[in-house]
């Protein structure tokens, strides 16, 4: 197990290196931030002055070494737009994203798992149709559209919830629901199909033949085994929710890292984009490791195989 973890850590470092190079190069291919920071009628000398001031006049390898060296010390550079450390901006925005992702994940698991199990147990019947409808709406309705509908109904029409921003629990409700829409559908579908697989398996049939109560069969034998792919997906989705809730955070003016990334890309704020992507990458790798360990915990056969 230790050898396996060490091997995975080595691969993780290699992945991070590739990620850092990729994002460093890609963001620089999208344009010169000096053209966005300067006045439209600024002359070439003004642009060059900005490049020198921001250190963008140096060669790419020099910039990369500077970036990586700084990142290893926890210094991700200074935001070109905000003119404050990019790392500080990230850590400042992270709690908002974690809060939003946790709330959205809770909603998606609560609804997705419940409806998924009910749809599998009552396959082809009323509950199954409800599940299909939820899946259809969740997967096909863009989150910005769902967000705007929620704002107009619950904030403007009913006056129940604040339209945007962050502060109270009431501020969290609509962004969390809007963000959870797609993920609820995804969790529901996977739970349903996974449960259907398991419910048709021999060991579930045996459990029923043994005369165990149906609820016991579902919870103890079926659901626990059906949970493995759902946990995997939820782990990946949680990282996605934290890092790429760009649209929802923009619609609800939620001050998370998704919006920070959007602003970074919009203004070609290299240090901000590099920081968000790199730290997001660290999060993905950490989440994958955690999910692997959870796998092994839920199903001992996996531990033995590895």
């Amino acid at each position: 197990m230790t050898r396996f973890i060490l091997k995975r850590c080595g691969l993780a470092l290699a992945s991070l290196f590739i990620l850092s190079v990729t994002i460093f190069v890609l963001i620089r291919l999208t344009g010169d931030p000096a053209t966005l920071l300067a006045a439209p009628e600024a002359k070439e000398a003004d642009l060059q002055a900005i490049r020198v001031q921001l250190g963008l006049d140096r060669s790419w390898p020099v910039q990369y070494v500077h970036f990586v060296g700084g990142a290893l010390r926890g210094d991700f550079g200074t935001s070109l737009y905000y003119r404050v450390p990019a790392g500080a901006l990230y850590w400042q925005r992270l709690p908002a994203s974690l809060q939003l992702a946790a709330a959205a994940m809770a909603i998606s698991l609560l609804v997705g798992l419940s409806v998924g199990i009910l749809a599998a147990v009552h396959v082809g019947r009323w509950w199954d149709s409800v599940g299909k409808l939820i899946a259809l709406l969740g997967l096909s309705m863009p989150s910005f559209w769902l967000g705007l509908l929620l704002i107009y109904f619950f904030a403007v029409y009913l006056h129940w919830l604040p339209t945007s921003g962050r502060g109270t629990a009431a501020h969290l409700v609509m962004p969390a629901v809007a963000l959870s829409g797609y993920f609820t559908a995804a969790h529901m579908r996977l739970t349903r199909s996974s449960m259907l697989d398991v419910l048709g398996s021999d060991y579930v049939k045996l459990a029923r033949l043994k005369g165990l109560p149906e609820s016991w069969v579902l919870v103890k034998h079926a659901f626990k085994n059906a949970l493995i792919p759902v946990v995997t997906l939820a782990g990946i989705n949680l990282v996605l929710m934290i890092n790429v809730a760009v649209v929802v955070e923009t619609v609800f003016a939620w001050p998370g890292i998704g919006r920070l990334l959007y602003e970074g890309i919009e203004f070609r704020d290299f240090p901000v984009v590099q920081t968000v992507v790199l730290l997001g990458g660290v999060m993905v790798i950490a989440a994958n490791l955690t999910v692997d360990i959870l796998y092994a915990w839920i199903d001992p056969r996996i531990r033995l195989e590895r």
């Binding site: 999208t30 009628e41 600024a42 704002i151 003016a253 602003e263």
Partner: protein, 512 residues
């Protein structure tokens, strides 16, 4: 009876006592909180005028936090603010500013000539290099009098120093900046403006509080909260729900919604950004755009009023010049009428009876629907053009390198005067100019050497007239924004300063 009288007297004394003991409260004391839903993210870099990029955006906050020696105000584009007055020497080499004596910064320090000199010398934003090349020295005559000595006469000095074209005339406190440094200043800026920074959450909101000792007048509002809300529909929802008093940029269908709501007003602001069609390859004799008649046909094909209706709810006045009529030395030019019949006739005369394929029309992002509408009008007379979408930085880069080709739906929104616009967009060396007209270049060089203001103005107007006669551009309109304002606002400050897109002066903003 006696007891009653005693009781009555006691009551009178009590009431008088309460009245006298009540805290003195001026009727002019700032009151209430005004909440803005701002369409962009406010950056701390904008707290320091020394870094102004030459764009108008930082003034969304600088008009509240800071003050300038001379600045655009409702009274005019160059209104004395921290200076009571200014004079220029006859030889045009010395500008003297007499400063107000009752100005204090937010920390209570008085504003003096030292601060004016320091702010100019510290300035490093757009145009800094040019200004410092032209200015030989800044001397302090006395604590409230400062002189700028130029190396040679430079008629545009006030155009740069006295307008938001630069931040060189926006004053910061020397002692404080030297004490806290540049980074410290961005974290906790101190200015001489009508509002001071109370708190800031980057990317979320900033809170400002009234500077009650502001020299011009005590602000009427106690507190201002500017929330960054990039999504237009959310800004509108905030307005409708009463969570915001002012929502910037509620254009298109959002503006229509504002109009329908009896609790809201639709208010227009701005106008400094002129929009026009630029014909990229008009210098190439093989290009149809080389022919003046074709360029004129394109201009006559545009229904500017309808474009203004569709894009800005009719707020943007059509124009016949790429230079805003409010600018110093601007030649007021009436827009071409919408005349597709004559436009088609001109195409026939130019040798294009069936029109031609004009390639792409590239707008400044994200004005794609505007470009689609323009392409529709051109298509109606036979000039076929497809809209090309480009990412903002890429488009800016190509425009600067003059690689856009075909047609550009372009704009310029910088402050300044006719000279700054001609310099950027018309003379052959202009940063965005695709024009190559030797006569214009000659006239421009001549005006830069001319010391007689009247002769200079005549030369500048000749340049503008030549641009119109040759139909080098197809000017469209001076862009104005529709904004949503709650009826709870007595004075929103929107549209008070000519051509300014944001609210101001902040000391005038008032709740009902």
């Amino acid at each position: 009876m006696r007891a009653n009288r005693r009781c009555f007297l006691g009551c009178v004394v009590l009431v008088l006592g309460l009245v006298l003991m009540a805290p003195a409260r001026s009727p002019a004391a700032p009151q209430g909180t005004v909440i803005y839903a701002v369409h962009i993210t406010i950056a701390p870099a904008w707290f320091d005028p020394a870094d102004n990029p030459g764009q108008i955006t930082p003034f969304i906050i600088q008009y509240a936090l800071h003050d300038a020696v001379i600045k655009p105000m409702p009274a005019g584009m160059m209104t004395p603010s921290l200076a009571e007055s200014w004079t220029a020497s006859k030889d045009g080499r010395v500008y003297e500013f007499v400063l107000r004596k009752n100005v204090v910064f937010h920390n209570g320090d008085p504003m003096t000539a030292e601060d004016v000199k320091f702010s100019f010398e510290r300035y490093r934003g757009a145009g800094a290099k040019l200004m410092k090349e032209k200015v030989e020295a800044v001397t302090i005559v006395d604590p409230h009098r400062v002189r700028f000595h130029l190396k040679e006469p430079w008629p545009d000095f006030m155009g740069f120093y006295g307008s938001p074209a630069t931040g060189a005339g926006w004053i910061v406190p020397k002692k404080y900046v030297e004490k806290v440094g540049d980074d410290g200043f961005k974290k906790a800026p101190i200015g001489a403006g009508p509002f001071k920074l109370a708190s800031m959450t980057p990317g979320v909101e900033i809170v400002l509080e009234a500077h009650e000792k502001y020299w011009r007048k005590t602000p009427k509002v106690k507190r201002i909260v500017m929330k960054s809300v990039p999504e237009g529909s959310t800004r509108l929802a905030m307005l409708k729900r009463g969570e915001a008093h002012i929502a910037y940029k509620t254009d298109g269908p959002l503006g229509e919604e504002v109009k329908k709501d009896s609790n809201l007003d639709l208010v227009f602001s701005g106008g400094i950004a002129t929009w026009w069609l630029q014909f990229g390859d008009m210098n190439d004799p093989k290009s149809p755009w080389h022919n003046q008649k074709v360029r004129l046909a394109a201009s006559l094909a545009l229904d500017r009023k309808a474009l203004s209706e569709a894009e800005t709810l009719g707020a943007s006045p059509p124009t016949g010049s790429i230079i805003p009529r409010e600018f110093e030395w601007a030649l007021p030019v009436e827009p071409h009428p919408y005349d597709p019949k004559r436009a088609k006739q001109l195409l026939v005369e130019a040798g294009y009876p069936n029109g031609f394929d004009a390639g792409f029309i590239t707008p400044i992002p994200p004005y794609y629907s505007f470009a689609e509408a323009v392409a529709g009008y051109l298509g109606a007379i036979g000039i076929k053009a497809k809209v090309q979408k480009m990412e903002r930085a890429v488009m800016f880069d190509k425009r600067r390198k003059k690689e856009l080709g075909d047609i550009c739906l372009c704009a310029n929104g910088g402050f300044g005067n006719a000279v700054t616009r001609i310099d950027a967009d018309i003379v052959s060396t202009g940063v965005h100019s695709v024009l190559k007209d030797a006569e214009i270049d000659r006239l421009f060089a001549e005006q830069s050497r001319e010391s007689d203001p009247k002769k200079r103005e005549a030369l500048l107007k000749r340049i503008q007239q030549r641009v119109v006669d040759q139909a080098y551009f197809a000017p469209i309109y001076q862009l104005q924004w529709p904004n949503g304002v709650s009826k709870a606002m007595k004075v929103s400050g929107m549209g008070l300063i000519p051509t300014f897109y944001y609210t101001g002066p902040f000391e005038e903003i008032e709740l009902r």
